[in-house]
């Protein structure tokens, strides 16, 4: 079972991570948004900088706002972005 998730990054998270979109195979034991963030941060300085201030990071799973406890499963679309500033 190695169907990937799709991860999207927006605004300054995209700039810091250095990518807007990537496919990612969930490692064993990573089943929530919070665990995924922990795993991504360990991938490099850009990712670490993107997630450095947790209160400035929002997430959505399958286009619905999510919290660190929200479950993530293969095939999901997970997005990370700063607090929104539209309107």
């Amino acid at each position: 079972m190695c169907r990937p998730i799709k991860i999207l990054y927006f605004a300054w998270l995209r700039e810091r991570a250095g990518t807007g979109e990537e496919d990612f195979v969930l490692p064993e034991g990573v089943a929530t948004v919070g665990a995924l963030v922990g795993h991504l941060r360990a991938r490099g300085a850009g990712y670490d900088a993107a997630f450095a201030v947790p209160r400035l990071v929002r997430a959505a799973v399958n286009q619905v706002f999510a919290s660190p406890d929200t479950a993530v499963a293969p095939g999901d679309e997970v997005a990370f972005f700063p607090p929104v500033t539209g309107g």
Partner: protein
């Protein structure tokens, strides 16, 4: 309920007429128009709006459906632009149609307050001299949405 996310400009009068067309019970239409602004302290030449297309439409539809139910609206229109917009250009339009003025005015405030805190858009300012800066979310916006 008309929800549009687009790069192109929109026409306030045309949108208002479209909202009114064939709806005899409407006695009031309230509107909010958001515009790219510049100040003396922070001269802005343009603003780039980025959004999350797969989520934006759904988020706006959810907010609009809430407003329609809550204020018994007879119609509403939300148009939000993305891309690079210059100073003075229109960013967002909210129209709320109801039988009477109070629900129309309240629904307009509700829509823009919620849109500001839950629609996935991000603004980047283009300042004089070629610098750019992401706009930070404001705590007052969360408070404005929470009052509903």
């Amino acid at each position: 309920m008309l929800i549009r996310v687009q790069e192109e400009d929109f026409d306030l009068t045309a949108e208002t007429e479209a909202l009114l067309a064939g709806c005899k019970e409407v006695g009031a239409v309230a509107s909010f128009l958001g515009v790219v602004r510049s100040t003396q302290d922070r001269p802005i030449e343009a603003m780039t709006l980025e959004h999350y297309p797969a989520m934006t439409q759904r988020a706006l539809e959810r907010i609009a459906a809430d407003a329609v139910g809550r204020f018994a609206l007879l119609g509403c229109t939300v148009i939000h632009r993305y891309g690079t917009l210059r100073m003075g250009e229109k960013i967002v339009l909210v129209l709320a149609a109801a039988s009477h003025r109070q629900p129309a005015l309240d629904a307009t405030a509700f829509l823009i307050d919620w849109l500001k805190t839950s629609a996935p858009f991000w603004k980047k300012e283009h300042l004089a001299g070629g610098h750019t800066a992401w706009v930070h979310a404001r705590a007052e916006d969360d408070e404005a949405a929470a009052r509903w």
